[in-house]
């Protein structure tokens, strides 16, 4: 698989504070990555370093195959960091034309990208007249001007109202659907869970986990079950080798799997033993549950 970004033992110190500590991970083409971590865990600093605006203390990183300089590589990257930064006295079109000049791409895509984020009607308004949500959408349009190999988003929904959040999420989903690699930094776990296939989890500048979302915990998920004879069902499952912990709560039985088992075979097995289910759901732990247990264990 094609590598887009390699980060090796990256460290950043601000005086006595270590913002990023010995961080290593790689980004492969085609995946949607989330960088997770509470506030102040070093997400933005890490992105600042790979985007050439923060100087690293030690370690290194390389874009693509490592043969181009960082600023050349950044022309193939689209990135939005925290707040959208544009020239307030210039219109959307003027600002985007400037970005095209910097990225050395023709300005032909401006119309397409402005339409994608729904700002074509306001293309001739000055940036300073935009609402925060519009500014954020313009930033996304700007990041997409070069049809980037990777889109980097740092807290893209921060400070937006629910409608704004929804609009941004829809745009991200559309872009992810087109096969663009995305790196999304956020502390909103449900946001990451909805779009990401891979995660890097940071805490106090240190990496706790990096890899696929599914592989975050060695877990096979759990069943939520209901039937007329709860007691008998519980006894039966407790003796079964595939199940570990079994909880009963609010008339629902939650049975955690120790090994893989699909819902169909469980249903068939219980039916054969004379138990008829009224409710059967197989689920995996949410990212939030996994994240909390991961940060707790360490």
């Amino acid at each position: 698989m094609e590598t887009i970004l390699t980060v090796n033992h990256l460290t950043k110190k601000f005086g006595l504070l270590t913002a990023v500590s010995d961080l290593s991970f790689t980004i492969e083409k085609g995946n949607v990555y989330g960088i997770l971590g509470p506030n102040g865990s070093g997400k933005s600093t890490t992105l600042g370093i790979i985007l050439n605006v923060v100087n690293r203390t030690s370690g290194d990183f390389s874009w693509f195959d490592g043969s181009t300089s960082t600023h050349e590589a950044l022309k193939k990257v689209g990135a939005i960091i925290e707040r959208p930064n544009f020239y307030p006295y210039m219109t959307a079109i003027q600002n985007l034309k400037l970005v095209c000049k910097i990225k050395e791409v023709p300005s032909a895509k401006i119309e397409e990208k402005l339409k994608l984020v729904g700002l074509w009607d306001r293309k001739d308004s000055k940036f300073k007249t935009y609402s925060l949500g519009m500014k954020q959408r313009l930033a996304i349009a700007s990041a997409l001007l070069n049809d980037p190999e990777i889109l980097i988003l740092d807290e893209p929904t921060n400070g937006l109202d629910p409608q704004g959040i929804h609009q941004i999420r829809e745009i991200i989903k559309t872009i992810a659907g087109q096969g663009t690699t995305i790196l999304l930094a956020s502390h909103l776990l449900d946001e990451v869970e909805k779009v990401c296939s891979h995660v890097v989890i940071l805490r106090k500048g240190e990496k706790l986990y990096s890899g696929p979302v599914d592989g975050m915990m060695a877990s096979h998920g759990f069943f939520e079950l209901r039937s007329a004879d709860m007691e008998k069902m519980k006894e039966l499952l407790e003796t079964h080798a595939s199940f570990g912990k079994i909880n009963s709560f609010n008339g629902t039985l939650t049975a955690y799997l120790k090994e893989e088992m699909d819902a169909e075979s469980l249903n068939k097995m219980l039916y054969d033993k004379g138990i008829i289910l009224s409710h059967l759901v197989k689920r995996k732990e949410s990212l939030e549950e996994q994240f909390l247990s991961l940060t707790k264990n360490n």
């Binding site: 600042g48 050439n52 050349e72 960091i81 003027q94 400037l98 910097i102 050395e104």
Partner: protein, 277 residues
Amino acid sequence: MVRLLQIEFIKLWNNRASKVLIISYFVLLTSIALIAAIKFDIGPVQFHLADQGIFNFPYIWHFNTFVTAIFKLFLAIVIVSMMANEYSNKTIKQNLIDGLSKKEFLLSKVLTVVSFALISTVFVFAVSLILGLIYSDYNELSIIFSDLEFLLAFFVKLVGFFSFCLFLGILVKRSAFALGFLILWTILEQVIFGLLGWKVMSWPAAKKVKDFFPLESMMNLIKEPGTRLSAVQNIGDQIGENLRFDYHTYWYEFLIVLFWTAVFIYLSYLLLKKRDL
């Protein structure tokens, strides 16, 4: 290089305040021609400034470069704010993220500044040439194109001064404070000169040291032309004061300014490189 200039041009030209200041600056440069129109006609006293020899070749090169250099303050405001605004709008961060290197970023500013100086020089050359051709008593080619070093001095002076403005913009990051700092620095040079002459060394020695200060060295490139007018010199002779000074610009004076220009640009680069944004 053209790309870097275009980038800066988009930033400047779409800013109304910058546009107004730049246009006013060039209008003012042209307006030096209006001096020709100064005429007093009070009964028996008739005075026409243009007839006093200020537009004579080659003196006009000296006079016009000296007077128009005062207008550089207009561009100083534009330059300081074009640098400081990048910080206050945080657009410098976005520029770097979009794929401009720090070197390119600074280079686009420096190129703009050099272009400003170059265009100003060409402008002053053209206006002076036209004025001279109209009013000068001497019109031989060899005289017209003598003393052109004043134009070179004018160009170097502007580049030096604008580099200082750029550096202040990067250092202070706020346009108003940077301009304040510029004024403070001007005063500071005089204060240091005063202290040196008063306490440390003799006044002539202090004067020599002062010539190495950045703003003072830029000032020295074009010395005041007033006392060079024959009318003024005649008055001087009458009151027994020799006003025939040395008006020429020496190579080492160029060198001092070029040295400061290099220092300011290099320091700007270091600041840019070292700072986290």
